[in-house]
Symmetry: C2
Subunit: 131 residues, 2 copies
């Protein structure tokens, strides 16, 4: 599995940004998806997560490592190479992520419609229920 990740794997325009389901931190679920096909390098993961800064991605990866979701393997080469890979525990999240995505495909439009309808009648500063 060495095909490069699709840069548009996570379209920023996709309403999934408004998804009420979250796994770990903001990027955790996406990282899980990125690593679903096998080990990936730091920079490789950054591509589909357009806009994520190295600091934040490092935070996410470190947290996942702490929680036993990924393994980090550094090769003492030049240039340096580091690979992240899902552990069995991390892989166990794939089902959940899939379930969340299935829910979104099926019900997110209705949720978004309800939200839009409320914004019509309620011109109050609608809070963004995004975490």
């Amino acid at each position: 599995m060495s095909e490069p990740l699709d840069p548009e794997m996570f379209d920023p325009v996709c309403p999934s940004s408004a998804m009420p389901i979250q796994i770990g931190d903001k990027w955790t679920a996406m990282v899980v998806l990125c690593l679903a096909g096998g080990p990936r390098r730091f920079t490789e993961i950054r591509v589909p997560l357009r806009g994520v800064t190295p600091k934040v991605l490092t935070q996410t990866l470190r947290a996942m490592e702490r929680d036993g979701l990924v393994t980090r393997t550094a090769y003492a080469e030049n240039p340096p190479r580091v690979e992240y890979e899902l552990t069995p525990l991390g892989r166990s999240l794939l089902d959940l992520v899939a379930a969340a995505r299935a829910w979104s495909r099926e019900h997110l439009p209705a949720l978004l419609a309800a939200r839009a309808a409320h914004e019509d009648g309620a011109p109050v500063g609608a809070g963004r229920p995004e975490a």
Copy 2:
């Protein structure tokens, strides 16, 4: 379904507080569970969510209402009575919540163990995902 909710429905000691899965805001998933059995009143919902302030619960409920997950019915009585009930859309989250809980039952101990093991070797201020 008028039996009072179990005050210990969500034990604060339960490691689910460390759960990496979140539906909506912090309390949304628990509210969904509270309303699974039928309509409930504001104060009734507060009981199992020990510690939640009315402000935050109102925020949660309002957001859920906006998103079409619950309906709010106020009865112009004295004393005032308000009931919240899951919509079909809100009920559609029950499967997802169940999936998340199933994952937790099965894998959360391993995650917590991994985290604890890391804290042994890394005495750095480990990010506590709990408030």
